[in-house]
């Protein structure tokens, strides 16, 4: 049973490596091209065929989530927090606990998005994360910043802060 499964995975891997992913380009170059794709298109690329899915199964493709203003992701993900959250969660799943950096400087929603995501993020994702840029439109109050810093003690956080809220 195990042998058959290993053989199947091996077969898929062989298929992935032998497929003409992007014409006759060398594998390393194809990897580089896929790595440069915006996050939403990279996720869609996994649906093209089993070979591409296998290729993009490598967690190293997903360790850096870029939703900065120049990320190239479809703007509908940057102006709807639900879609943005879904995208971020999908990337976390693909990273398999290897998430290293998240740049949300391009998102435009005014919800405390970063806290919403952290509430649902796994402990492994939080533990591996080393850099986080929070969305600029929503400044966090002191209590929220404290929650953020406590949830990510090993992560460099960059965010806007609002203090002394008037009643």
């Amino acid at each position: 049973m195990l042998t058959r499964r290993v053989a199947r995975v091996h077969g898929l891997r062989e298929a992935a490596l032998s497929l003409p992913l992007l014409g006759p380009l060398p594998g390393d170059l194809v990897k580089l091209i896929l790595r440069l794709l915006p996050l939403d298109r990279r996720l869609r690329a996994r649906e093209v065929c089993r070979g591409w899915r296998f290729f993009l199964n490598d967690a190293s493709f997903w360790t850096h989530v870029d939703l900065s203003p120049s990320c190239g992701v479809n703007p509908r993900f940057l102006d709807s927090w639900r879609r943005g959250l879904a995208l971020l969660r999908a990337a976390c799943v693909c990273a398999k606990g290897g998430l290293q950096s998240v740049d949300l400087s391009g998102v435009t929603y005014c919800t405390p998005f970063v806290l919403q995501w952290l509430d649902s993020a796994s402990a492994v994702d939080k533990a591996s994360l080393r850099d986080l840029v929070a969305p600029p439109p929503r400044r966090l109050d002191v209590e929220q910043v404290t929650a953020l810093c406590r949830a990510l003690p090993l992560c460099r956080e960059r965010c806007g802060v609002e203090c002394g809220v008037e009643c």
């Binding site: 002191v142 209590e143 406590r150 003690p153 956080e157 203090c163 002394g164 809220v165």
Partner: protein, 308 residues
């Protein structure tokens, strides 16, 4: 109620904030005397990586506090500073000048919120104007509600200092009402016209609620034809102000036709909020000359979109 003092551990990178970088900080002061400012200034000066600082409703009238806070902002490398409702006085001018002079400084927004407080008065004006004139990176300048036209000579000096700013993209002097005498309106309009005519970088100019009247607006419209960069101009006429059909026909329309870059001209027709007419009627009341102006500008915007 949270207080400004709560920002201190964050700025000081005390645990659990050791790895925190504050990109932009808004501080509302609801209490705290001079010592609160000095504490904030002390913490701010040690925080690196911050770009924007917004101080709101903080009494920054005393020279010692404003000097400490602005010098801390300079040392923190702030590029974008806002002071809203802080009651800045002429004593702040030397420190504001130092802020303008700091490397890479890009945006200064000041709105005092009450008309009686004039900031731009001698004898500190030359220092501030010199810093403004020498600024290479200033892109946005808002001087709102600072009673700019209280001293026409000082205002002329200030606006003249902006003439050589090659990086300046946006200027707002909203909420600086003239005293409504034709002489003041004309003098204000003429110094703005000189600035508009020689500016090579300004894209947005906001003159809302300045009560410039026909004597002030005429030289501004005449200068528009010599300007090749201004894209948005806002007059924002306020309650009781309006322009006549004759002014629209003789001054506004020819000026807009003569421009090449202008894409938006706002706030020329003020509509009474108590008017019983609904929105449709308001649109019908638009002067035909202003409608033509809007058509010209809309055609330019469409052409831009098609070209893009």
């Amino acid at each position: 109620m949270l207080r400004a003092v709560e920002a201190l551990p964050l700025l000081g990178c005390e645990p659990p904030f050791a790895l925190l970088t504050i990109n932009d900080l808004i501080v509302y002061f609801v209490e705290g005397g001079e010592q609160a400012f000095l504490n904030l200034a002390s913490a701010l000066s040690g925080h690196k990586g911050m770009e924007k600082l917004f101080i709101h409703t903080a009494p920054l009238g005393a020279r010692a506090t404003v000097d400490a806070l602005l010098d801390a902002a300079i040392s923190a490398g702030i590029k974008d500073a806002c002071f809203g409702g802080c009651g800045l006085t002429p004593t702040a001018l030397p420190a504001l000048g130092r802020l303008l002079h700091s490397p890479g400084f890009a945006s200064l927004k000041v709105w005092n919120g009450h008309q009686d407080a004039a900031i731009f008065e001698s004898p500190s004006m030359p220092v501030f104007c010199e810093a403004l004139r020498n600024s290479k990176s200033l892109r946005r300048l808002w001087l709102m509600g600072v009673n700019l036209w209280a001293d026409i000579a000082a205002a002329s000096q200030l606006i003249a200092a902006m003439e050589g700013l090659t990086a300046l993209r946006e200027l707002s002097i909203e909420g600086n009402c003239t005293d409504v005498t034709p002489e003041t309106q004309r003098a204000a309009g003429e110094c703005l016209a000189r600035f508009i005519a020689c500016s090579t970088s300004l894209r947005v100019l906001n003159l809302a609620n300045n009560r410039l009247g026909d004597p002030g607006m005429t030289p501004i419209f005449q200068a528009l034809g010599r300007n090749t960069c201004l894209e948005k101009l806002n007059f924002g006429l306020v309650n009781g102000e309006h322009i006549s059909a004759e002014f629209a026909h003789d001054v506004v329309l020819p000026a807009v036709r003569a421009t090449t870059r202008l894409r938006e001209l706002n706030g020329l027709q003020w509509v009474d909020a108590d008017d019983d007419a609904d929105e449709e009627d308001d649109e019908e009341e638009l002067l035909p000359e202003l409608q033509e102006v809007e058509d010209i500008l809309a055609a330019r915007r469409r052409a831009d979109e098609e070209a893009a």
